[in-house]
């Protein structure tokens, strides 16, 4: 056991899966010699060489497109898109192909591949470096969409994603990369994809969050306990799609109230599906409408104003109080 930050934890998963299975290859911009702009692939190029850790030309569609070809051949490519804001360049390869090859070939082929991308705010960089685009992937049939909330879940879920026979979009919160260290076991650890985790039990209100927003939800839960004496149940989604409706519904059947927190913008965003599925799964228990605490529906705000844009604990607390007072 060692205490690792999320970058190191992800790196460990990559290393161990590459040692386990020589079909696992890494491809992306600057993932090789440079070790990735966030250093998630650090040292792997040295250990496994440039044919397994491939420094690609600057072209996202070809990164995903060639990885699809590799997967069809039986390799298990892990693609890094440098920032999630640049993944629209390869969106057609994802939607037209990675997500469909199993259906198109009626099972003769499939795309066992992982698409890793840093997402969300927190690096003081320009446009396209703070967005949170999980919604786009969650809506595509044939894809799985995973967002870990810390070093340990990141490591275990990445290992599972690599072994998953279906294409997995794997979002890594930039804000979490170095935010905290956690104990991460030396031996390989996996975690089921498609399953949410109760992060904190409570009976008064359910807070649903994922990625960097888990911290925000936890903080809000603490404030609500201390200041309002309210026991909040916090769900760490971990997999956005397929959504673990069961865990969410069971919680809201108990609490009767729910608030969803995400960094994506609100309109037609992931919170809508979560809210709709709560309505479907816990209608008779609902004491108040499900509230959504999200980024605003504006294209971008500049990093100097991220702090008003991205949800913080105060906003969550206020939404929770409204929900409790409903």
């Amino acid at each position: 056991m060692g205490k690792l930050n999320m970058v190191k934890a992800l790196n460990l998963a990559l290393l161990q899966e590459m040692e386990r299975d020589d079909g696992v290859v890494i491809i992306g911009e600057d993932v090789g010699v440079d070790g990735g702009v966030f250093r998630v692939t650090e040292d792997l190029h040295r250990q496994f060489g440039g044919t397994r850790v491939i420094d690609s030309p600057l072209a996202e569609a070809a990164i995903i497109g060639t990885a699809v070809g590799m997967a069809l051949y039986g390799l298990k490519p892990i693609c890094e898109i440098q920032f999630s804001g640049f993944a629209f360049q390869c969106f057609h390869q994802i939607e037209n192909h990675a997500a469909r090859y199993r259906a198109r070939s009626q099972g003769r082929f499939h795309c066992q591949m992982v698409l890793r991308m840093p997402y969300g705010g927190g690096v003081r960089a320009l446009e396209h470096h703070t967005e949170s685009e999980e919604q786009f992937y969650a809506h595509i049939p044939g894809l799985k969409m995973v967002i870990p909330s810390g070093p340990r879940t990141a490591r275990a879920l990445l290992a599972s994603a690599i072994r998953d026979p279906d294409p997995v979009i794997f979002f890594e919160s930039k804000a979490l990369y170095h935010a905290a260290k956690e104990e991460v076991p030396d031996e390989i650890e996996t975690m089921p994809i498609g399953r949410a985790r109760i992060d904190r039990e409570g009976r008064d209100l359910t807070l649903i969050a994922y990625g960097a927003m888990l911290r925000v939800a936890r903080e809000a839960a603490e404030v609500l306990r201390e200041e309002d004496g309210v026991e909040v149940e916090v769900i760490d989604l971990l997999t956005v799609s397929p959504l673990d409706r069961e865990t969410i519904s069971a919680s809201v059947q108990k609490t009767g109230r729910a608030v969803v927190v995400h960094e994506a913008s609100r309109n037609f965003g992931p919170g809508a599906e979560i809210a709709a599925s709560i309505m479907e799964g816990a209608f008779l228990s609902l004491e108040a409408p499900v509230r959504r605490v999200t980024a605003y529906d504006v294209p971008f705000v500049g990093f100097a104003r991220e702090w008003v844009h991205i949800p913080d604990a105060a906003r969550v607390v206020s939404a929770a109080r409204d929900t409790l007072a409903y």
Partner: protein, 381 residues
Amino acid sequence: MPRTPIEPRFKIEYLSILDSEGSLDTALEPDIPPGDLKRLYRAMVLGRRLDERMVRLQRQGRIGTFAPIKGQEAAQIGSVFALRRTDWMVPSFRETAAMLWRGWPIEKLLCLFAGRLEGGQPAPDQHDLPITIPVATQLPHAVGLAYAAQYRGDDVVVMAYCGDGATSEGDFHEALNFAGVWHVPVVFVVQNNQWAISIPLKKQTHSATLAQKALGYGFPGIQVDGNDLLAVYAASREAVARARHGEGPTLIECVTYRLGVHTTADDPTRYRSDEEVKAWERKDPLPRARAYLEKKNLLDDGLEEQVDAEIARAVERFETMADADPLTIFDHVFAERPAHLEAQRAELRERLGADPPRRVDEERPLPTPMRGQRKTSRWAN
């Protein structure tokens, strides 16, 4: 203003062996065994006859929109012949003849064009991708396959097809650039049939040839007479050999012509002249190959009838094929069905129970065709 030319300078070459007048450059003539020549010609005839049959099936509403290959038989058969069965073939959507050569059963293709998922499934031992509709997006897959083969040390060449229009897409560029950098065993066959639906080549690119696009990726490009079976094969054989021997990718531009409609939903009389089509009909690859075989005394009597009978049998098999259970739409989304699909499947099962599945073609009104679908003149004659 004087400047220093960068050496070496670039050139692009054109290859023609058997021209439309029937003159043969015997120095360049590839040595194809008689049996193979017969198979090749038969495959071209099969491509042509099936094409015609499929257009009729479409007109009768028995299959959906379909892209005929008429005029491109030499480009397809001449190139795909250079592959081994263990090599990979990556089609676009207009390679029926090449796909048949690779072993796709006719009825499976019919099934695909009839809008049934089963038609997209290659056999377990077939190294072929299913057809790709989004133009040029299959090219990076070909490069990835070639990379993977090279990674695994397998003796494999990948041949990927696309059209002239496809060369404008970003994916074409990115795929060729990756292929150049990675130096992988891939051959890009561009069937330059002069048109991308209604867009003629000169509106597609200001480049004098498509072959010269390879210059930007640092590997060879060659232009061949795409209606000349021998030239296409000679260039393909060389490119495949180069690829197999670790000498990297090649771009082959086959100069050919789409003699028919773009798809059964298209009306080419709107955008091109009869004279143009007639001029290209004189370069039709089929009579040219036929004359070549005739000279060699390799023409079998009754070939057309044989081929037609083969097609008829396949159509029969297609028509009597049981419709797959509609519930199979949930079978190949993921390796394992997640809860929400299980629920949707249950819902559909219940619906179907209440109101059991029917053949859609029989009982549902035909949906609106794309306009032009029925008023095409070219295929009427």
